[in-house]
């Protein structure tokens, strides 16, 4: 990524995938959204959880990631015309179909990349 830019044109879905998820929060956002629609502020709060007291997510950054995800077609932005602004994000069909992939990644990561991974690694 970072990622992965300069994708080999088309014809390589893996490269497209890498480009799509490049970004620090994209996968986490998708994961957070799997349980239902969330508002901007809710996503922001949700991303805070699990980050060991590190810095907050800058609004700018969150906005960019959300926009990128929207353009990728993974999430959908619904703007209620209210004031103060209220915006909801939710997974599209494509996004929902992507959740199992993320689940697979998480599961594999939990088993092979966590602190307990060293033990497993010992057995080559």
């Amino acid at each position: 990524m970072a990622k992965a830019r300069a994708a080999p044109a088309r014809s390589c879905p893996v490269a497209a995938f890498q480009k799509m998820i490049s970004g620090k929060y994209k996968l986490r956002i998708v994961w957070d959204l799997k349980d239902g629609p969330r508002r901007y502020g809710e996503i922001r709060s949700g991303l805070l959880r699990g980050m060991e007291g590190s810095a907050e997510i800058t609004p700018r950054v969150l906005s960019r990631e959300l926009k990128a995800l929207t353009e990728s077609g993974l999430i959908d932005r619904k703007d209620f015309g209210e004031v103060p602004p209220k915006v909801e994000y939710r997974l599209t069909r494509k996004g929902k179909s992507f959740v199992p992939v993320v689940a697979a990644i998480r599961q594999w990561g939990d088993r092979n990349l966590g602190e307990s991974a060293a033990l497993v690694d010992a057995a080559e």
Copy 2:
């Protein structure tokens, strides 16, 4: 990430995953290796296939990606002491366990990111 640096320390397997696969060829290399050990030059040739006549992979880059994958524990480097040099790379146990994840990514990508994806997208 293109990619993903400054991982949230530990505790986030997804971030570790992103860091691990960041790089233009890492996933493809793992995929190529799933059928058995390959030599440096074979991997290089294999990566050429499927790239529409675009540039070759620089030795520098391939070397770096292979090294990174080795340090991640996904592949294993076996250096026969011969001359001219002969080096073989193959998946470790960890690497093999990772293949299904890549397969899931590929499958999802094929269905949702290829040229035919537009059709599917049409249905929201």
